[in-house]
């Protein structure tokens, strides 16, 4: 017979496991519901929210794409890809300059760059509208690409710098001794050594650019340039008679990031861990 003192830890474990699994349901069920609802009909959604779809109907995805999700998807991919490339390059260059080369004013430069971390995007919003209009960037992809880059260079530089600073400089010096120029050292020696943190930086930037809403809402007016977050908001306000297509659009926006997170988890967690110590 088990004594009560030995029973308590077991009960405790059961309660704990039950709680953790309950929380799993709280997190997963709404996401699952989103996917399930995309396969239902309008009346099915409004009728019983918990019911399964009567048939496996994927036509809502086609309708969503026709309603503009296809364009938004393309725009999101384009803006995300270009801003990831520019952010990573500018940040890696800056990190290289700050950690591998003796440059004048490196301390103040670092402060200026990392100081950008403190600024909320809303703070520069009003003048940015004026500037973007006068530079002719308003309502173009460039507005988003440039802003996503500018507002993320501080974080990404910080991330890459904190990794580069711990790498042994001897290998770089050896390359220089071998006759490599700085540019060659950067591309052939330092960058390959930084692969893990570059992957983290890229993943975090993809998440940011793909999900960004405020800039996309303010700097884009035309439907043809809108990215997924703003496009979906527009779609949902229009498609009151076709909820399944909104759910389909949401699924299209969510699934790539979920897949990216699962695939890049190891790097991702590392990037988060280094980033928050900022």
């Amino acid at each position: 017979m088990t004594s009560p003192t030995r029973l308590w830890p077991i009960i405790g474990r059961l309660v704990l496991t039950g709680f953790l699994l309950g929380l799993v349901i709280v997190v997963l069920y709404p996401l699952l519901w989103m996917v399930i609802s995309s396969m239902k009909s309008n009346s099915e959604i409004l009728g019983n929210p918990f019911a399964w779809p009567t048939s496996l109907d994927l036509s809502s995805y086609g309708r969503a794409i026709d309603k503009g999700v296809g364009t938004y998807l393309f725009n999101s991919v384009l803006v995300t890809a270009l801003s990831v490339v520019s952010t990573t390059l500018l940040s890696a260059w800056a990190a290289f300059g700050l950690t591998r080369i003796n440059i004048p004013f490196s301390k103040p430069i670092l402060m200026i760059i990392v100081g950008g971390l403190m600024l909320a995007p809303t703070v520069a919003l009003v003048p940015l509208v004026k500037l973007m209009q006068s530079w002719g960037l308003y309502d173009t992809y460039w507005a988003l690409i440039i802003l996503y880059t500018a507002f993320r260079v501080p974080f990404t530089t910080f991330l890459i710098r904190s990794y580069m600073i711990d790498l042994p400089i001897d290998v770089d010096e050896a390359a220089v001794l071998d006759g490599a120029t700085r540019r060659q050292t950067f591309w052939r020696v330092t960058m390959p050594m930084c692969t893990p943190i570059i992957v983290s930086a890229v993943i975090l930037q993809v998440l940011f650019a793909w999900n960004e809403f405020l800039f996309a809402l303010i700097f884009i007016g035309s439907d043809t340039v809108k990215t997924l977050p703003v496009g979906l908001a527009t779609l949902s306000s229009r498609a009151v008679t076709d909820f399944p297509s909104v759910f389909a659009g949401m699924t299209i926006a969510a699934v790539p990031m979920i897949v990216l997170f699962i695939l890049g988890q190891r790097y991702f967690v590392r990037g988060l861990a280094e980033g928050v110590g900022r």
């Binding site: 709280v26 440059i103 600024l119 909320a120 009003v126 220089v176 071998d178």
Partner: protein, 321 residues
Amino acid sequence: MSTTQQKTFPPPGLNTPAAGTALPRRRKPARKKNAWPGLIWVLPGLVTLFLFVYYPLVLNFRYSLETSNIFTGQQRFVGLDNYARLAADPVFWKALGNNCLYAGISIVFQVFFALVLASLIENLRNERFRTILRSIYFLPSAISLTVTGLLFAFIYQPQGGLLNGLLNAVGLESLQQAWLGNPDTAMLGVIMMSQWQGFGYCTLLFAVAIQRIPREYYEASALDGIGPVRQIFSITIPLVREMTGLMMIVTISGAFQVFNEVMVTTSGGPDNSTQVLGTWLYRSGFIKNDFGYAAAIATVIFVITLALALIQVRYTNKRRV
């Protein structure tokens, strides 16, 4: 001295004749003589930052002292008028209050709850179970707030929404309502959605911090007969104190920047009950074209977030030294 000398010899494997001969001549000029060209590496980033972050920030202060209309191009210096109007604007205070409510509830869920949750998870024996739990809790943070916002707008719907359906299923029909349409529940609804989205992110960060605690502490205390609950309170929580402090500041700062969550679900309504600083700025500036006023709200956000950021910097510096 000896180490510097050792460095001048190419490491094994890189010992090519070229390296050997180039050795004494190449090193010194690269070190000191002309360091200015090296600036080229940081210049592109700096220019981008100055043009699109710092310059607009400075302009914002100027605009907040003017009334300006972006479409007509008229501008007039009005001093602190916009700030005086702000102080007398009940919606501004309502918004500020909502931001504070946001911060308060976020601390409960994204700092305390996340910390306890991370402690509980890291206490589990099965490593795979730990990894899976952390990842599942994080999932909502990987998707955009727009998707979350639209999803919860559906969940909160009076008809066909999950929440009312759930209340119906457990016999609490009387509590059913249009959650986002009711000024009394709308703000809470938006905040709870935001907690659903964000708690996993914080849990993951706390988990990373907890993993840095040496296992021996737990083993030693277990030998002394200290149970898992007491371990959480006397080992885990004290040792991640710094992360907790950092997360509190990051969370509060985030609460004052809230925009997307509110914009997608309620746009500040009904009856301004869910207005936050970000949405009030948007409404003033981009719907009502009251740009000076919007710039003044931006300054308020700037002052609050800068103060928090400075506290954070002091925090981190203390920790690093």
